[in-house]
């Protein structure tokens, strides 16, 4: 089984990389991009039966820094 973990900076945490991407899109002529946030996607190849709690613990311990990031677990 697989799971995908989406890690994003929390609202209110400045994302300078997202800002740089927004500027670059504007420079390429794409108008109407009001904001860009850049995150991470981590795919986990897991043993069958791995619980949601276990994946959440992986996120809390290592995959996300919950001081600045939020995460969302997606089962594939």
């Amino acid at each position: 089984m697989k799971a995908r973990v989406h890690v994003m900076l929390k609202d209110g945490v400045l994302d300078p990389q997202g800002e740089a991407i927004r500027h670059a899109l504007g420079a390429l002529g794409f108008s109407g991009v009001d904001g860009v946030r850049q995150g991470k996607v981590i795919e986990l190849d897991l043993s069958d039966g791995t619980s949601d709690d276990e994946i959440a613990r992986m996120c809390e311990t290592l995959l996300a820094n919950t001081v600045i990031e939020s995460y969302r677990i997606e089962r594939l």
């Binding site: 400045l14 300078p16 990389q17 740089a20 995959l63 001081v67």
Partner: protein, 222 residues
């Protein structure tokens, strides 16, 4: 004084840290990240700069879960001294030994130059060598030194006198110009600037040498 320098794959300021501590009169042991104990009688653990584990995932995140962190945490909990510089500061925040986090520099660029700092508290063995509000200069060399914490945490750090030093001309977007912070008991210091790179006359700047000299003296006196 017995000091220990932790070494992770990708640490690159570990030997500079050792030399700076030795010049201040410490006996220094290097410990590997897989070690599970600190040498008997360790007074200070220094977590050096570099790119531990290639900065993969987040700077300091993988090092913060390395085996050596368990005895380091225990050392801090019994009131031992810990100094984290640059990547070491990132490791200490990732490990939860200091609050907040270090984000990508606001200007997105890696910055390597000497910056001005002001000493915000003299109430720690790390900063008591300096006068309150003293201006010093130390080198920085980082891509992720933009200190972040929520407003309540920042207020608490300021209220408790735990901001150790501030940038006089903020280079990286750090909240409230913070360059270094202390733990609640003021025995753990995390700082982005490199005192070990300003520790002898050949460096052209000895502002950092005072930190090590005074720290060594203060710990021996304590």
């Amino acid at each position: 004084m017995k000091a220990v320098v932790t070494v992770f794959p990708g640490s690159n300021c570990d030997r500079d840290m050792k030399v700076a501590l030795e010049r201040a009169g410490c006996s220094v042991t290097m410990v590997w990240h897989k070690d599970t104990a600190l040498p008997e009688g360790t007074d200070l653990v220094a977590v050096p700069g570099g790119f531990s584990f290639g900065d993969y995932l987040r700077c300091g995140a993988i090092a913060a879960n390395a085996p050596i962190l368990a005895p380091l945490r225990a050392h801090a909990e019994r009131g031992g001294y810990v100094l984290g510089v640059c990547n070491g500061f990132q490791v200490l925040t990732e490990a939860g030994l200091l609050p907040g986090a270090l984000l990508r520099n606001a200007g997105l660029k890696y910055i390597c130059r000497t910056v001005g700092l002001s000493i915000s508290t003299t109430n720690s063995v790390f900063t008591s060598a300096y006068e309150q509000d003293a201006r010093i200069a130390l080198p920085i060399a980082h891509h992720d030194g933009n200190y972040f914490a929520d407003e309540a945490t920042l207020d608490r750090l300021e209220g408790e006198g735990r901001v150790a030093m501030r940038y006089t001309d903020n280079p990286n977007g750090s909240a409230r110009d913070i360059a270094g912070i202390l733990s609640e008991n003021a025995r753990v210091l995390g700082m982005m600037p490199h005192p070990e790179r300003a520790a002898e006359s050949a460096h052209g700047n000895e502002d950092g040498a005072r930190l090590f000299a005074h720290l060594t003296e203060a710990v021996l006196r304590a």
